[in-house]
Every structure is written in structure tokens, then in C-alpha cells.
């Protein structure tokens, strides 16, 4: 198996530049997730890898060999589509066997492989049924079965779980991860759901407007977001982004409502060097309740939203809406005021002008 390498890949549709100069190495055997909002070019990129879209320029190679001019069938890959793309006129068995028959695999081998895939995905009882007689989750399994029997080097998934309900999505996500561990093949997966990206990926590629914004292991993107877009995209509930000012003469930052929080000297120096307005980023789970006056925020509560083990607490710092996620047992939801302490070691700062991270 070899790495998949995209070099300076561009895709134009007329005047529209859908994919812009993408350079990316997808490691062999890894689980890479292309994620981003609608229209960011992630599906186009996946389809370019599959050969369903002809790239305008650049190169796609598998190891040393360029595959950009190969037909989809010659790229040794399998793909699962968002709509499942099952043939309604064929039974489940025949759907799974379709790719093998197309490649003229001997009948005995087809039977063995389809049986194996059926066992693995729990489909053997449904072999004789037509796709319309299956539930959404079962159809998705058939689509995955059709891909895995192929023994391809590369597996592509185009938002495969987005048509499923929430519970089934969670189950299938787990199954996909297990399947990847079991097969040990390269998976490239497209989604707009950041939770799917975080939970499944070895490598996340976050795209916006056809460009890669940041790329790396999920926790690296989560803990070290390169800019405001990455910070706000990953994490649920998303990171609070609060505009603050940093006076030159004091080691502190001033929040929109005038409250002041201390910051250490080295951080202050970097922030004040940046000049102007700063965006302070803090994730909701990085607040704690405190009895102290010093180093804490006084918050007037807007609303409590219990989610079970956690309580989402909304409050405002002047016009800025802020969310804190606290353990439910620690919150008295009859309160109207609360003092919260932010974990300053896990906060992020961004330039308000460029949106880039300030380290």
C-alpha cells in the first residue's frame, strides 16, 4: 500500500474555482476525514480522487504513480455514496457481488467474499431482499459491503451517514471505525459533521472555500486551532469567541462588559504586540464554578439547559453571548448570578483583524 498524494490540485467549473491548489498527503492505512461547511469543495476533492471529476490541473498519485488520467475503475478504489447508490433491481446479494462480477472474479470466490462481507455486516439474513425492503441502516451496510468485497487499496466515503437518524449514525460511526481497524486500508471520508470528523479521523483536513485551512490529528486541531474558523468549527458546543482589549501597561485583558481578567506576562507581551482588538477563545467546558472574587467572572444567567450529566449555562458579557458547560450536580439552577473561573491555560487568542491564532 502507498500514500495518496495530491499536488497542487485545482478544479474549476467555468469561472468557479471549487478546489484551490490543494497539497495533501493521505497516509496509507490511515483514516482521513475531509470536513468543512457546505460548498467548501470537500466532495469535489473526494470525487477528484475517485476520478469522477477531472481535475483542472495538478496531480493525484498513489505512491510514485500518477493516477489522475486513469478511469475510476483502474484506480483500485471503492466508494460509498451518500445516497447509498444501491441498484434497486438487484437483490442485496447481487448488489454486493456487482463489483466482483464486473471484474470477472470467479463465481466461487464471489460467493466466499459476499458471504464474508454479509457475516461481517450482519446482512446474511437479507441477501434475497431488494434494497427497498431494507431500513436506512441496512442499506448503508449493503453499500459498505459492496465496497469492502472489492479488496481495494483505497476506500472513499461521501457523507455516508448523513441520511441516517442520530442513534443509527452513532452506531454506524462505531462500526466504521471498527471496520477500518479490521481492514487496515486507507479510508478517506467526507462529512460536514465535526463530531464525525473528530471521532473517526486519524487526520482531519478542514476545508473552506476550496482551500485547506488546517490539517492534522483531530486533537491538534482541537487544541491548537490555527484561526477563528477552525476554532469555531470544531467542538460541540462551539468555542466562545469574545472580543477583548489588552492594555499595554497592565497584565490583564478587559472583557466587553468591563470586567477584567489577569493574564501572565509572556502572554500579555505577545498580545499587546499584536495591537488593536483581540479575540479570546474559550471552550464552554473550560469554565468552572468558583466562590472566589479574584480571577473570576461575574455572570448574570440567561438560561440553563440541562443535557443530562452536563448543564449548559448561558450568560452575556454585554452583547456577547457566552456558554459554559458545567457538571449538572454542581449547578443550582435557581440562581440568577454565578461566578465562573476560566481555565486560562486552555484558552486561545486570535487577532480580530486577520483571525489568525496568536501564540
Amino acid at each position: 500500500m502507498s500514500d495518496l498524494v495530491l499536488s497542487k490540485v485545482n478544479k474549476h467549473y467555468g469561472d468557479f474555482h471549487a478546489v484551490k491548489n490543494i497539497n495533501l498527503t493521505i497516509e496509507s492505512g490511515g483514516f482521513t476525514v475531509l470536513v468543512g461547511p457546505s460548498g467548501c469543495g470537500k466532495s469535489t476533492l473526494l470525487r477528484s480522487i475517485a476520478g469522477l471529476e477531472q481535475i483542472t490541473d495538478g496531480d493525484v498519485s498513489m505512491g510514485e504513480a500518477s493516477i489522475k488520467d486513469l478511469a475510476p475503475r483502474d484506480r483500485n478504489l471503492a466508494m460509498v455514496f451518500q445516497s447509498y447508490a444501491l441498484y434497486p433491481f438487484l437483490s442485496v446479494y447481487e448488489n454486493i457481488a456487482f463489483g466482483l462480477r464486473a471484474r470477472k472474479v470467479p463465481a466461487a470466490e464471489i460467493a466466499t467474499k459476499v458471504e464474508e462481507a454479509g457475516e461481517l455486516l450482519g446482512l446474511t439474513d437479507y441477501f434475497e431482499r431488494k434494497p427497498r425492503e431494507l431500513s436506512g441502516g441496512q442499506r448503508q451496510r449493503v453499500a459498505i459491503g459492496r465496497a469492502i468485497v472489492r479488496d481495494a487499496e483505497l476506500f472513499l466515503f461521501d457523507e455516508p451517514l448523513s441520511n441516517l437518524d442520530a442513534k443509527l449514525r452513532d452506531e454506524m460511526r462505531e462500526e466504521l471505525k471498527k471496520l477500518h481497524q479490521r481492514l487496515g486500508k486507507t479510508f478517506v471520508y467526507v462529512t460536514h459533521d465535526q463530531i464525525e470528523a473528530m471521532t473517526l479521523a486519524d487526520q482531519i483536513v478542514l476545508l473552506r472555500d476550496g482551500e485547506i485551512v488546517q490539517n492534522g490529528p483531530p486533537m491538534e486541531l482541537f487544541n491548537q486551532p490555527k484561526n477563528l474558523f477552525v476554532a469555531s468549527f470544531l467542538g460541540s458546543p462551539s468555542m466562545n469567541l469574545i472580543e477583548v482589549s489588552v492594555p499595554n501597561d497592565k497584565n490583564e485583558m478587559v472583557l466587553p462588559d468591563g470586567q477584567v481578567l489577569e493574564i501572565d506576562q509572556s502572554r500579555h507581551d505577545k498580545l499587546s504586540k499584536n495591537g488593536g482588538k483581540i479575540i479570546w477563545g474559550i471552550r464552554p467546558e473550560h469554565f468552572e464554578i468558583s466562590g472566589e472574587q479574584q480571577g473570576t467572572l461575574s455572570c448574570e444567567i440567561d438560561v440553563f439547559q440541562p443535557t443530562g450529566s452536563q448543564m449548559l449555562v448561558s450568560f452575556r458579557l454585554k452583547d456577547t453571548h457566552v456558554l459554559a458547560e458545567l457538571p449538572t450536580h454542581s449547578v443550582d439552577n435557581s440562581q440568577t448570578k454565578m461566578r465562573l473561573v476560566p481555565d486560562m491555560s486552555r484558552t486561545h487568542f486570535f487577532s480580530a483583524d486577520t483571525g489568525d491564532r496568536i501564540d
Binding site: 469522477l52 455514496f81 447508490a85 464486473a102
Partner: protein, 275 residues
């Protein structure tokens, strides 16, 4: 609603159903009855509603004189032209649907060719066929019916093919099929009902054509609608032969529609929902 009301309603519906059936089936029954009546019964007044005996002489005469060959001629011209129009038209439709061949309005332009009143082009077509020596030949009629039916086939099949999700084809490409195989193994099965429905209507158009068959045939490939009109004479009209020939001409259509009814209904409803 009370049980009595419901029963009453059922009776009304039944009565309405019977009336409709009589209105629609009576002409066919009358034709069938004429074909097996004796000449006396045909011209009797008051009319003989039910023939006293089945007289197959009208049919015998059609077979004896070779008139029945005109049904065969119709079968050949309508059948072969339907097959050719379906094959060419479906591939053309695929090209238009998937590759936007000819631009966005090409299919509209194609179907507009069917909107020309046929009588307007009858004379030029006749002259063309005379110069090409295609008058009174199978090839001539087959070519003409194919040309006439192609726009319809392209228009209909383009709609059915557009309804096939493109992912099914893309998935098949990735699975290892070539373009032609994708059409045969994925697109055709997906549009099977549409294919049958379109083929049936194409066949019916060719089968029922009278104008061009009248102009472009003499004796060798006369089709059955032209033959039937030959029984209306200035001195007398051969009602028995008209009835028998009409029944023979109706039989192929009856079998086609009866055996393909499932596909015709599904194909037409596929067309109905495609918007």
C-alpha cells in the same frame, strides 16, 4: 355512513361501471359481430344484435385472397422501425441527458420536429422517396417511421434517464464497468418500464399510420389501414371484410398492450412524476 347508504353507493358505482363498459366495448363488439355475420345479417333492419351463427367466411376470404399479408406488412414496418427508433433514440437520449449534447434546448428542438403537421411534408417526402426509389418498399416505410418516431423516443427516454440517480452510474464505473456496460447493466434496467412504455407507443404510432402508408405504398408493402380503406367502394362497401380485417389489425395491439400493461402503467407514471 349507514350500511344501507354504502350499499346504495356501491350499486350506483356498479351501474356507472356497466354503462362505461358498454359505451367503450360496444364498438369493438359490433366490429367483431360484423366480422362473423352473414351479409344478410349485416344489412338487416332492425339490426341483428347477436349473430345467429359464427360465419368465418370473411376471414377465409382475407386469407384466400392474400389480403392478410397487409397485417404482416404492418408488423414488419412497425416492428422493425420501433426497434431501430428505440435503440438509436435511447442512446441519443442518454447522450443528451448525461452529456448535455447539443446544448440545453436540443431536446426541445428535436421534439418540435414532431409538431409539424404530417400532411405539410407529405408531398416533399413523396418526391424524395420517388427519387430514391423507396416507394412501395419495406425500407422506405421503416426509414420514415423511424424518422418520425425518433423525436418522441428521444424526448421520452431523456426524461426517464434523467430520473436515474447519477450515483448509480458513478458507482458502477468505480465497480469496474465501462461506459457501454453501465448503460446496459445499470441504466437500461432502471428505465425498463419507460423503455417498454415508449416502445409500445412508438409501435402504435407506426401501426396506426395511414397517411404515409397511403402515399408511399402501392401493392407490395400495403399496410393494413390502407387495405381496410380499399373495402369502401363507390358501388358497395364490404362491411364483412372491413370488420374481419379490423379485428385482425387489432389483435397484435391487443397482445402487446395486454402483455406489457404492467410496464406501460409504470412507465407512464414514471413520466408523470418527473416534472
Amino acid at each position: 355512513m349507514s350500511a344501507a347508504g354504502s350499499k346504495n353507493n356501491t350499486r350506483k358505482r356498479l351501474a356507472l361501471g356497466i354503462i362505461c363498459a358498454v359505451v367503450f366495448f360496444f364498438p369493438i363488439y359490433w366490429l367483431a359481430a360484423i366480422s362473423v355475420k352473414t351479409p344478410d345479417e349485416i344489412f338487416a333492419y332492425p339490426p341483428v344484435w347477436l349473430p345467429k351463427s359464427i360465419d368465418l367466411n370473411n376471414y377465409y376470404v382475407l386469407f384466400r385472397d392474400g389480403d392478410v399479408w397487409t397485417v404482416f406488412n404492418s408488423l414488419v414496418t412497425a416492428g422493425i422501425s420501433t426497434v431501430i427508433a428505440m435503440v438509436l433514440g435511447t442512446f441519443a437520449a442518454y447522450s443528451i441527458a448525461r452529456y448535455k449534447t447539443g446544448g440545453p434546448n436540443f431536446s426541445m428542438w428535436i421534439i418540435s420536429q414532431r409538431m409539424v403537421p404530417t400532411i405539410c411534408i407529405a408531398f416533399p417526402v413523396f418526391l424524395l422517396f420517388v427519387s430514391l426509389k423507396l416507394v412501395d418498399t419495406y425500407i422506405g416505410l421503416i426509414l420514415l417511421y423511424t424518422a418520425f418516431n425518433l423525436p418522441y423516443v428521444i424526448w421520452m427516454m431523456r426524461g426517464y434517464i434523467q430520473d436515474v440517480p447519477i450515483e448509480l452510474e458513478q458507482s458502477a464505473y468505480i465497480d469496474g464497468l465501462g461506459r457501454f456496460q453501465v448503460i446496459l447493466k445499470v441504466v437500461f434496467p432502471m428505465v425498463r418500464a419507460g423503455l417498454f412504455a415508449t416502445a409500445v407507443f412508438t409501435f402504435i404510432f407506426a401501426w396506426n399510420d395511414f397517411l404515409f402508408a397511403l402515399i408511399l405504398t402501392r401493392s407490395d408493402v400495403t399496410t393494413y389501414p390502407v387495405q381496410v380503406t380499399g373495402y369502401f367502394g363507390s358501388q358497395s362497401t364490404f362491411w364483412g371484410k372491413i370488420g374481419a380485417m379490423s379485428m385482425l389489425g387489432m389483435l397484435p395491439m391487443f397482445f402487446v398492450v395486454a402483455t406489457m400493461q404492467k410496464y406501460i402503467v409504470r412507465g407512464m407514471s414514471m413520466g408523470a412524476v418527473k416534472g
